[in-house]
Every structure is written in structure tokens, then in C-alpha cells.
Amino acid sequence: MDKAFTSIDEAVADIPDGASIVIGGFFTAGTPYQLIRALARHKAKNLTIMVQSFGPGNEDISQLVLQGQVKKAICNYPFYRSATRGARSAFERAVRSGKVEVEVYPMGTFIEKLRAGGAGLAAFYTPTGVGTVAERGKEKRTFNGRDYLLELAFRPDYALVHAGYGDRMGNLICRKTARNYTPDMAAAARITIASVEELVEPGELDPDKIHVPGIYVQRVVEVERLHYIPTIE
């Protein structure tokens, strides 16, 4: 089974207008910058993008907003922390003018919705968000005297993720805190496209150290390791 693509543009070429796409990365760590750029070149429109943030550490994603490709954003930390920096952001302008619809979930709920989706579950109950705006429109139920909110699983069409190492069968090993959302996003999506910094032959990765089993990854493409300075601003 060989899932390797030589061209990153070919790897994203079939993403249709209207697709739902989850994008990995926690601020700068593990963000699949080259796949985001390929999606901008591909120009699919009316996309629902599920990603931690449209602000800090994710400048490339602004291009999708500037090109009008994003219909809806599902995030847990959508904006820049600084109001001044935020006022200059294409995403914040698009949200204020109503061009992009936004849903926000607590971080743990955000990723658990994907875990549940990938694991064949319809929904789960969480204590997070009870008594806050996050409970709007959701079923509230009491178990053992404590209130919980019903959250629905999410099953996106595509996932764009990044890993340090991958083999042709799609097995991935992530580096340090760059692992973050990658395993659960890869499992949730129907088609997962992974960019890796080092693509190797089956058997070369230690099977005891795999973070994402290849069954969750449909396409893998080697990219150059980008160097950047981690910063939230």
C-alpha cells in the first residue's frame, strides 16, 4: 500500500467546493503550512474550516479568508489576543462584516468532537461549559448530581495534518508538542492528507513509537521542514 504523493498540489486537488476540512496545529506547533498554501492555490470555495485559530501562528490561513474560500470557521481560540493586532486581521474583519460564520467550542470539547467522530460515536456528555454561553441550544442532563452538556461528534470530509516522520503506508510519528491535534483529526476525517518532513519506507519507523496508525491516513507527501519562530503575537 503506497499512499505517497510527489506533488502537494495533486494531494489536495480533489477537495471540492463546500467541503469540511479540519486543519492541525496548536498555534505554530504542528501546523501544516504547506498544505494550507496548497489549499489556497487550489481555490476550493465555501469551505467549513475547523482549526484551533485563525489568528496567532497561522498567517497562511489568512490567505484562504482573503480569497473568499471560507464560509464557516469552527475554532477554540479564533482571534488574536491583542485587540490592536486583531483589528488588522483579515479573519476578524470578515467575521465583523458577516462574511464568515464562526462557531467556538472549549478546546477539550473541540477535540473530543473529532475523537468521537473518528471512533464511531454519535455524541458525548461533557461538564465543560455548563452555565456559560457554550450551553446554548444543547441538551443538558444530570448524571450523579452533576450537569453535563450533550455535544455532537464531528466527521469532516478532509483533514490536513503535519508530522515529523511518516512512511508510505501512512504511519506517522510527531515531534514533541507538535503532536497535539494530529492523531484525533486524522482519525476523524474521511480523507486525511499528511505532510511529513521525512518520508521513509515501510519498516523504517519503530512500530512501537507510531502516534498515528496508517489506517487513518490516506495520502502522505514529503515537504521541506520550515523554520519559524514560535510566537503568539
Binding site: A29, R81, T126, A134, N180
Partner: protein, 232 residues
């Protein structure tokens, strides 16, 4: 009364670093702790060498001090996107597992910043309506999960806003992060415990009196019988 308060001179208290030190003294050895963005992050400067394991919700236990320039690894950051380092015995895991351990009750304490705290311990910290977005959208991040999951929530904040308004209030006007979760409030002016019988003023900054603290706190404070100066 209200006018009298306005005329009062600005009360001087602890620096951000010393608020962090007071909180570090509150943390017990042998515990797992998560530090939020802002003043809470500074607590890490005061616990080096202590038997306290910091959790970073991005997916790491035993996070070390901030990386020096020569040590920066772009794949090793904390939840505030600061380059950090490893301590012996550290480990990495997914964000999903990170929040499973947070909701699962494994964090002994979470130190969080706040815009407001109510007399019942409601915490408001994720959404500043002055940004002008609809009430239901803002940077929630990990705050709601930490607030409901940690065994003890400690708030680190300045006692009043930049315009001098109390941040400890009868009822939060800002969108809340969680209901009835805050156990201890440490500010530049005071240490206040949230109890079933209301707020208890335990410690005041050097040179201040209980009356000074009450003048910048909206709900009525119960004064601890052993009220003392903040111990650093």
C-alpha cells in the same frame, strides 16, 4: 460613599511577579498544576526545584523553564506558544488526552487569570465584550475545561481594572467561564478565599487595611480572625 471611593488614592500593592510568588507558595509539593496565560505563567519562575509538575494543555507533563534563544525548538512550546524546555521525566501526549486528564480530575490546581470573579466563585475570563464580537464567540481556549476540571482553581489578577473598577463583584457582567469554581483569589492587594459563607479576606498587601480592600471590592468581605500581611 461611592464618591468617597472615587476620591481615594490608588492603592499600591504587589507587582505581577510577587502575585506569582504568593501563588507559588500556595502550591503544594507532589502536585500536578496547570498555569494559564498572563500572570499565572510567571508562577513557573518561582517553583524551580520544587516537586511540582506543570502540565501544558498542548500535551506535555513536566514542562521546563522557558527556552533560551539557543535552546529554542519550534516543536516544543507551551499553551501560550512560548518555546519551553524538557525536564527529566517529562512526557508528551495528544491534546485530546490532555483534556481527558484535565476533565478527568487529575489536575490538583489550575492558576487562571480573570476579568471578574463573583462572590460565589463564578469566573469570567474568556471574553472581553469590548472586542465587539457577538457574546458567544471569543477565545475560550482551554479555560472552560480547566475551570471545571481542576480540583482547585486559583485566580491571579489585579484587584481592579485599569480604570479602577472592582473585578471582584456580586455578579459577573462579563460572559462566564464556569460557575462556582474559584477557591482562592490572589491579587496585587489581597488574598481572598471563596467559601460557602462568602468571601473571606485572609491577607492584605503591606501597608493596607481591610477597609482599603473593602473599598475596591464590590461584595462584602468577611475578615479572617487571623488577618495578616501577605506572606512572601
Amino acid at each position: 460613599m461611592a464618591q468617597q471611593q472615587k476620591q481615594q488614592k490608588k492603592l499600591e500593592g504587589l507587582s505581577r511577579e510577587l502575585i506569582a510568588l504568593r501563588i507559588a507558595n500556595e502550591l503544594e509539593d507532589g502536585t500536578y498544576v496547570n498555569l494559564g496565560i498572563g500572570i499565572p505563567t510567571l508562577v513557573s519562575n518561582w517553583i524551580e526545584g520544587r516537586d511540582i509538575v506543570l502540565q501544558a494543555e498542548i500535551g506535555m507533563l513536566n514542562t521546563g523553564p522557558l527556552a533560551r534563544e539557543s535552546e529554542v525548538d519550534q516543536d516544543l512550546i507551551n499553551a501560550s506558544c512560548q518555546p519551553v524546555t524538557e525536564l527529566p521525566g517529562c512526557c508528551y501526549f495528544s491534546d485530546c488526552e490532555s483534556f481527558a486528564m484535565i476533565r478527568g480530575g487529575y489536575m490538583d490546581a489550575a492558576v487562571l487569570g480573570a476579568l471578574q470573579v463573583s462572590e460565589q466563585g463564578d469566573l469570567a475570563g474568556w471574553n472581553n465584550p469590548e472586542r465587539g464580537f457577538p457574546e458567544h464567540i471569543g477565545n475560550i481556549g482551554g479555560s472552560m475545561d480547566l475551570a471545571v476540571g481542576a480540583k482547585k482553581v486559583i485566580v491571579a489578577m489585579t484587584h481592579v481594572t485599569t480604570s479602577g473598577e472592582p473585578k471582584i463583584v456580586k455578579k459577573c457582567a462579563y460572559p462566564i467561564t464556569a460557575e462556582r469554581v474559584v477557591k482562592l483569589i490572589v491579587t496585587d492587594l489581597a488574598v481572598i478565599e471563596v467559601t460557602d459563607k462568602g468571601l473571606v479576606l485572609k491577607e492584605v498587601a503591606p501597608g493596607l487595611t481591610a477597609e482599603d480592600i473593602q473599598s475596591v471590592t464590590e461584595p462584602r468581605l468577611n475578615i479572617a480572625p487571623d488577618l495578616k500581611e501577605i506572606q512572601l
